[in-house]
């Protein structure tokens, strides 16, 4: 089976069959016309062999559809470049060892879940003693001085705290993404960091379930981490980033 990475299509049960499942609701009463509308919509999206597998009356003039079709679109996977966190991933022990060796002092890390976002579990997973899934959090690292300011922390408070405590890195968590609230909060954070003149000194990291490295970099952070992150991933990045910044080791 030869896959042409320049023209990749979805795979149902044969290469390039383009099979895709969709479900959506149309604000029209459930009848054959609605079904035809669902098909036409799918065709507009570029689907062939469109089948309405299921139609259900949601009441009040709304209809829910399950649709299968074959897309005619292809995607060029060969040319996709995704920015990735390039630093190696050290273990808990390696991280501590390297900090000791390279910096000879504890790295200071401050974190919070910012803006109106009240979700602490993510940032706690990275920072608190206990950590997450049997991976210790930063507070447990002998060579990291970690402070977790909690949730709903205004950007300004977080940055001031970081400056006051001469932080090497600031960790920002954003979980709520509705109405792009994370974008607003994160953009404001970077603007503030620049106006406080710490943008070039501190390692600025953002994480959350809908965060990825690409988005983080676009917003002006040094790195972004998504679901499944553990403290050692972040710590590895911070120490390497600081090493480069300070031209050390």
């Amino acid at each position: 089976m030869e896959i042409d990475l320049k023209r990749v299509k979805p795979y149902g049960d044969a290469l390039n069959d383009g099979a895709v499942q969709l479900s959506f609701t149309l604000p029209v009463p459930s009848d054959e016309r609605a079904e035809e509308a669902a098909k036409q919509l799918a065709r507009k999206m570029g689907f062939r062999d469109v089948g309405v597998a299921h139609r259900n009356d949601l009441g009040d003039g709304f209809t829910f559809f399950v649709v299968y079709g074959r897309t005619s679109h292809v995607v060029n996977v060969a040319d996709i470049e995704v920015p990735k966190v390039e630093t190696p991933r050290y273990s808990y022990y390696e991280v501590n060892e390297r900090i000791e060796k390279i910096f000879g002092r504890k790295l200071v890390v401050v974190g919070a879940c910012t803006g109106s976002d009240a979700h602490t579990v993510g940032i706690d997973a990275i920072m608190n003693m206990k950590g997450y899934n049997q991976h210790y959090g930063l507070e447990r690292y002998p060579w990291v001085e970690a402070t977790n300011l909690g949730s709903q922390v205004p950007n300004e408070d977080l940055l001031r705290y970081a400056i006051d405590h001469e932080a090497d890195a600031v960790l920002v968590s954003q979980v709520v993404t509705a109405k792009d609230s994370h974008i607003h909060t994160l953009t404001e954070f970077i603007e503030l960091a620049e106006s406080f003149g710490v943008r070039d000194r501190m390692t600025l990291v953002v994480g959350g379930p809908r965060i990825n490295h690409r988005l983080a970099v676009e917003l002006g952070f040094d790195a972004g981490f998504g679901p499944g992150t553990y403290a050692e991933h972040v710590a590895s990045f911070i120490l390497e980033d600081q090493r480069k910044r300070l031209g050390m080791g």
Partner: protein, 519 residues
Amino acid sequence: MSQLQLDREKISEARAVAKRIADDVQAYINRHTTVTIERTTLRLLGVRGVNDEMEPLPNVVADRLHGRLGDGLSLPFLTAAARTGLDAVSLSRAVDEGAIDLTGMEPVEPGRIHDTAERMLRPQLERIREMRRIREERIAAEPPHGRPLLYVIVATGNIHEDVLQARRAARQGADIIAVIRATAQSLLDYVPYGHTTEGFGGTYATQENFELMRAALDDVGEELGRYIRLVNYASGLCMPEISAMGALERLDMMLNDSMYGILFRDINMYRTFCDQHFSRMVNAFAGISINTGEDNYLTTSDAVEAADTVLASDLINEQFALNSGLTPKMLCLGHAYEIKPEIENSFLLELAMAALLREVFPEHPLKYMPPTKHMTGDIFRTFLVNGLFNLVGQWTGQGVQLLGMLTEAIHTPFLQDRYLAIRNAELVMNAVKSIGSEMIFRPGGLVQTRAQTVLDRTLALLRRVEENGLMDSIAAGVFAEVKRAKNGGKGLSGVAAKTDAYYNPVLDVFARELDAVVE
């Protein structure tokens, strides 16, 4: 049933310890009032509406009496009313405009104050009684559901859109509609006014929004021949005010917890304890059931490890509720299906917990929350786990099943998500309808042992809490692994020790009509 072979002694003992824990705090509560308790009293006296700056009139009046909270706000207000003969709203407006200075009124004799209070309270109290009567009548007329009530949320931010969503959900089979509040409304020390169309993460709880939604649900309920229950949040910095609004607009149920605000909204604990008591008395008076928030503990703590914190908190919540005159049948105590589904026998552990709560709280409806924490964007897996959750709900006879959404980790529910959730629950609950009475747990088996262990640990935990006192225990992070300082958090400035002059006509009513602790 006594399926779990629990030691009844331990249950009684746990309940007794919880009572002592609550009563210890109750002593504090009895000696204090808060700004929102007083504003609630003003609302029940008839104050409503906002001034030109959209400030609610109850807040306006309270602000003008700043510093006098410990006396209660009723006496100066009623004095002015008696003197001026103005109705509550006109009087408040006059106060707002500066035409009347509440602090400078000549006293009137107590008899007149009481008469004025009675006269001013009457329309509101009558309305609440009437609402209660209607609710009881309609619920009595309903055929039995034979399964947990299906509870779904709407959360568009726009009350008009919410109304549409709620009607559709009802038509699709929902029994209970909760309107999620706008994020951070809980931290406002006032209740917004009017029909609101912009709310982030939810829709503002306002009396006007309540009214609109109530009418819509009565409408669709009539069409469907069912009574559709309406829920909101008597939670945050305005617990009792929202209860009062809900009482007036016939809400049926309130999220209303004695500790949630402390733990999850960082509201000061003195404030919260006082507020919850008064708000629950309002609920008790109005016949509004309450839902407690122990499910939230399992989003920050591990559900296998921290099961005892849930049961312990449920028992404490129960005692506070009883102190407010609520009856067991009105207590939808919270718990949740939050064990990681991939854990071996996770279903049996959940079953044990749900059955345990059923046995410890035999008359209580119980509020069962769906899996959330371990849900991912894998909508198929989430849908499936929601099915297991619905199965346990039916099996153990939960009163209120808060339906899980297949898009839990993705977005607030779409119309179709809610539809699929209701279908899931209906299908599963009907397919396993009689399973609760068909199955016997193996004596000494995993389910029984787990339930017994959780009960033992709960008793031990309660004893530790009793020893340290509830407030210090919260400060130490016993619940939800969240630590809250006694004097920290929002809203402490709104608490005042009652002076000897303290007067509150609503408390008099409650003392007369409720089986509550009123001092």
